[in-house]
């Protein structure tokens, strides 16, 4: 795959290569963070010096359906030895699906000094780079996040409904079967289903993984992404856009691609997604 700069992204600084990470393993200004779906993976081997952030226990509130508040986020960042100035580099399994999700949550607290390692675990492993089981310990920091600010990048159901009524841009990143309503949940995720199948009216079906090269998990070039999102599906980078999936994790990957790689001006992730919309009484649905 070509170098990141050769792919002409709107914000290339948000991606780093596996080479870059290999050169910054001991950089005290950088913290490498692994976030996976598979909870065994980090323990089985991770990039030297990388810390683990678990999307369920570290990023989600443990009682109500929401993300952690400022105090819990401060505690997390303190535990992994991150200050407001630290460059956080996220990577993980499944083509960085969970890394992008963690990146999005970090943005709710304004940690803009964050990047994603292009290709994630898959590329690192395919390149035969070393992994370790040694869990690093970093001195706890005193991290002071601002209050969580959802408005700019997170959409709620009433906002989505208003967006639908004014025929705004919506991207459904689930599988075609979920989009059409023939399937009520993602293949192999039966517990995250909904009472109704289909999609939010007006949404374009653009499965999230079409933004990556399957052989190494890297993001496709800006030209390829433009062809996918703009030419084939008619999205405009100037129009307000909302992406959704099932619980907001796959759509955080698409949010990342649209906002940073293509420079869409106003993109939000609807994390309520189909598990909320497909269960709500009275909202419009298309099949």
């Amino acid at each position: 795959m070509s170098q990141i700069l050769d792919r002409h992204y709107a914000n290339p600084d948000v991606l780093v290569s596996t080479d870059w990470v290999a050169e910054h393993l001991t950089d005290p200004k950088t913290r490498i963070v692994e976030s996976n779906e598979d909870t065994l993976l980090y323990a089985a081997g991770h990039i030297s010096g990388a810390v683990h952030v678990d999307w369920t226990s570290d990023l989600n509130d443990q009682v109500r359906r929401d993300y952690v508040g400022r105090d819990a986020f401060n505690a997390l960042m303190s535990r992994i030895g991150v200050t407001r100035e630290t460059t956080v580099v996220l990577y993980g399994d499944r083509n960085n699906w969970w890394a992008c999700y963690a990146f999005w949550v970090f943005q709710l607290f304004g940690h803009t000094n964050a990047k994603v390692m292009d290709g994630g675990r898959l590329k690192w492993e395919k390149e035969g780079r070393p992994l370790t089981r040694e869990v690093p310990q970093y001195p706890a920091t005193s991290y002071h996040a601002p209050e969580r600010k959802d408005a700019a990048i997170r959409a709620f159901r009433e906002e989505v409904l208003a967006h639908v009524q004014r025929h705004g841009q919506l991207v459904d990143v689930r599988s075609p079967e979920e989009f059409s309503g023939t399937r009520l949940h993602m293949p192999e995720y039966p517990n995250e289903g909904a009472m109704r199948g289909g999609h939010i009216p007006g949404a374009r079906s653009i499965p999230w993984a079409r933004a990556v090269n399957t052989e190494d998990g890297t993001f496709k070039s800006a030209e390829e992404l433009r062809a996918l999102y703009m030419e084939q599906n008619g999205l405009s980078p100037r129009n307000e856009t909302i992406a959704y999936c099932r619980i907001g994790e796959r759509s955080s990957h698409t949010w990342f691609a649209l906002k940073y790689l293509l420079g869409f001006e106003n993109v939000r992730n609807y994390d309520g997604s189909w598990t909320e919309w497909g269960n709500m009484v009275g909202v419009p649905i298309e099949k």
């Binding site: 779906e37 598979d38 909870t39 065994l40 993976l41 323990a43 089985a44 399994d93 675990r121 898959l122 492993e125 395919k126 993602m186 192999e188 995720y189 039966p190 517990n191 995250e192």
Partner: protein, 143 residues
């Protein structure tokens, strides 16, 4: 009812309710995983032995021994398939040497007993697919 060898292992896992301890135990099995020997199967593996639903690209074989028991073998092609390797090692250790009827009687629910909170929904179904693949191989060997 599970075969005694499998039940003994499940009882051991039940003694480790803490997720971190359980991860260590699972990793110790993953580390002991031994791929299918070349006299049983070579790459490219026959797709008829591929485990349906398993995102770790796992394969399973059951070789009938002269005494009528089965020897189980596995391959896991995804380098990140740590959970699949752990389960393969467990199934091989506890079920190899048993008769087809005993192997066929095991329940896919053992996946939940072994992995508990250390498993995502998708991965859980894939691992249950491994158990079901072994049961199907046992049923075929019995018929």
């Amino acid at each position: 009812m599970n075969p005694p060898s499998l039940q003994k292992l499940l009882d051991t896992f039940a003694m480790f309710p803490d997720p971190a301890d359980r991860i260590e135990l699972l990793l110790s099995y993953a580390d002991r995983f031994k791929e299918v020997p070349p006299d049983v199967a070579r790459r490219p593996f026959d797709k008829s032995h591929q485990v349906p639903q398993c995102e770790s690209d796992a394969y399973a074989w059951a070789v009938k021994q002269p005494d009528g028991t089965l020897a189980l073998h596995f391959a896991v092609e995804n380098p990140s398939g740590v959970s699949a390797k752990a389960l393969a090692a467990i199934l091989q250790k506890t079920l190899s040497g048993l008769g087809p009827e005993e192997i066929e009687s095991i329940s896919p629910e053992i996946v939940e007993q072994i992995f508990r909170q250390n498993i995502s929904m998708g991965k859980g179904l894939g691992l249950m697919g491994m158990v079901n693949a072994v049961r199907a191989l046992a049923a075929r060997a019995r018929s």
